[in-house]
Amino acid sequence: MSLLTPQTERQATEQIVGPEDAIELVGLLAEYESVDAVMKAAGKVRKAGFTRWDVHSPFPIHGIDHVMGIRPTVLPWLVLGGGLSGLIGGLVLQWFCNAYDYPVLISGKPFWSLPANIPVIFECTVLLSALTAVFGMFALNGLPQLYNPLFKSERFLRVTDDRFFIVIDASDRRFDEAETTRLLQDSGAVAIERVED
């Protein structure tokens, strides 16, 4: 199996132009054909002690978190915080506007009464929670991400279609090109590619 694609050979010639454009290996990309295969391989990679690695798939694979040892995300706590801010914000907003800053007597209604304020408090709570859930999720995922060396790989295009990948980062302490390649080969990968940047 040749690890050098025509693209990387071209980049290798460009390297002569300037040393600051040096191409370095950032990881190894292994392709799998099925959910079962990638699950098994993920178990092997984890057992080998890697910490800087990831599985890429076209849809969420159930049970992969467990196999990879992904810890529960902090997101629900952020959402709780967002929700509480919305709740308090909605309450304070209504109190400030109608009971404190400019009270207006309408139909003899009290300036400050909780029952009339419940709908708006509820909506503010849901709104801020939902905003936190979505933007918090993207922020924790580091998205939007404008550049990713993985996208240089033609093979990797199928990650949003029907293929499964394992990427092991070269900065992992246990990373050794030859040995890691062998590990991925043994794990049932149908193809292995060098990811360079």
């Binding site: 984890r46 049970g63 196999v67 939902a130 979505v134 999720m137 924790l140 580091g142 980062d169």
Partner: protein, 486 residues
């Protein structure tokens, strides 16, 4: 995998619990699903799409001209009068908000109930919701008479240093519809990101790669990303569930907290919500049946999906019929003269035709869906769904107009007659809705590709990998923070 010919239509509508009905037919695998959905957007623009788009655009143009006429002349161009101050704009508002309920119901409530069949229809139902909310939000915005002062609805400091009145249900409505629109948009977009990434990776042209690339935010299908994505999706579903139920409840408060006979009833919130789900599902069917036919999505939006939606329509239709009966019962039982007269007037008064249409479309017509043969006949389904939409529009017309034209004292009675501008604006709002919907069908994934893949049997692992109980510290790695190298 593809031993079954593509033309073979598998019957997956059986109710035998011992055999799990496939939610995707035609022997599609992961790639097949991608292909099936992507081809809708990738193939050259069809003549049918162009013709439909031109029609929709013409109606949108009519709406634009009506708005111009309205803004330059004033709300007198409508049939609104004293005492019918609400008229068509509010009828249309309630109608469109109601339509907008099905999308988030499908994405949120059916998600929490683990109704996996939702994956085939949730994407365009959510899109439908957003477009319906846009149509809905327009009407109160222009109904205020001076739309350039619509910002008075928001709690922002203004030249009068006066604040909105939070004890008014009309302001609750601003918050309810605003929140609902925002959350529906977030829900829709979050689900879209992985599918836009699919389109990005399939695009050949630079422009498409760039645009899909921007909107997919650099999504790369990382398991660590999916983990947070799924968590966020679950949280959104849990948040949107009470939200869906609250929106039409709050809309009904606009009526229920007033003292007008026919409005001042406690049954309004559940009655409005049931009606909204009924009308919303009807609109999903009106869009889904032609979509699966013209876009060739029969293997993803299967007969089982259509049948399930018919069952939801039947169920909520019965609740709506029950609510109608309860209203009459309560009016009689209350012995309140005005309440009794309002309901007598609704049936035998000047708007009798509207009441007959409403009752026929919402109570009588859906009963045909008891029969499985009818539920699986697309023509019948389509006709019942269109009738349901007509019926739901007339329901709002009846509630708003009959109660306002004749309230307590006959000296304050006055008939309401819509003008041609009223009717053209209603037609124009459909133009806005269908223009947005057709653009969505042309450029975005109409089916949630990633989600449909998860309901295939081969998406579920049969063997668990090794190292399940390894060192927990290994999970600290976040490949996104920073990116490889550097």
């Amino acid at each position: 995998m593809t031993a079954i010919p593509a033309t073979f239509e598998l019957d997956n509508t059986y109710d035998d619990p011992r055999r799990r009905a496939p939610l995707v037919t035609g022997g599609l695998d992961f790639h097949g699903i991608t292909q099936e959905v992507a081809k809708v957007a990738e193939r050259p623009t069809t003549l049918a799409w162009k013709i439909s788009f031109m029609c929709a655009l013409s109606f949108l143009g009519i709406l634009g001209l009506c708005l111009l006429y309205l803004f330059t002349t004033g709300p007198g161009v409508w049939g609104n009068n004293q005492p019918v101050g609400w008229g068509f704009p509010i009828v249309n508002f309630v109608f469109w908000v109601g339509i907008g309920h099905a999308g988030t119901l499908i994405s949120a409530i059916l998600f929490l109930f683990r109704q996996n069949w939702r994956t085939g229809i949730n994407r365009f139902a959510e899109a439908m919701t957003i477009f319906a909310v846009i149509c809905a939000a327009m009407f109160p915005g222009i109904h205020v008479g001076r739309p350039w002062l619509a910002y008075w609805l928001a709690p922002v400091p203004n030249q009068m240093s006066y604040w909105p009145q939070f004890r008014s249900p009309l302001l609750w409505d601003v918050f309810a519809v605003g929140t609902y629109g925002t959350v529906s948009l977030l829900f829709w977009y979050t689900g879209l990101v992985p599918d836009i990434a699919t389109f990005r990776d399939r695009s050949k042209s630079k422009v498409k790669q760039f645009l899909y690339g921007i909107f997919s935010l650099g999504w790369n299908g990382s398991a660590r990303h999916w983990h947070r994505f799924e968590r966020a999706y679950l949280l959104l579903a849990a948040l949107a569930t009470p939200l869906v139920l609250s929106v039409h409840s709050v809309v009904s408060f606009d009526f229920a907290t007033s003292q007008i006979p026919g409005w001042h009833t406690t049954i309004f919130p559940p009655y409005f919500v049931a009606g909204a789900i009924y009308g919303g599902f009807a609109m999903v069917l009106v869009l889904a049946v032609p979509a699966r036919q013209f876009f060739g999505l029969k293997d993803i939006i299967t007969m089982r999906h259509i049948e399930n939606m018919c069952k939801v329509m039947l169920g909520t239709g019965i609740i709506v019929g029950y609510a109608y009966m309860t209203e009459f019962w309560t009016a009689w039982y209350s012995t309140n003269t005005f309440e009794k007269f309002t309901f007598y007037n609704r049936v035998f008064g000047p708007y009798m035709v509207g009441w007959i249409i409403m009752t026929f479309c919402n109570v009588v017509a859906p009963q045909i869906l008891w029969s499985k043969k009818m539920r699986t006949n697309l023509w019948v389904v389509m006709i019942v769904a269109i009738l349901a939409n007509v019926g739901m529009w007339f329901e709002r017309f009846e509630i708003i107009i009959t109660s306002l034209t004749r309230d307590f004292v006959p000296t304050s009675w006055y008939a309401f007659k819509p003008t041609s501008i009223d009717l053209l604006m209603l037609a124009g709002s459909f133009g806005l809705f269908f223009t947005l919907f057709l653009l969505f069908c042309r450029f975005l994934p109409v089916v949630a590709i990633a989600e449909v893949k998860t309901v295939l049997p081969e998406a579920h692992p049969h063997t668990h990998g090794e190292g399940t109980h390894g060192d927990e510290r290994k999970a600290d790695y976040r490949p996104d923070h920073p990116v490889f190298g550097e």
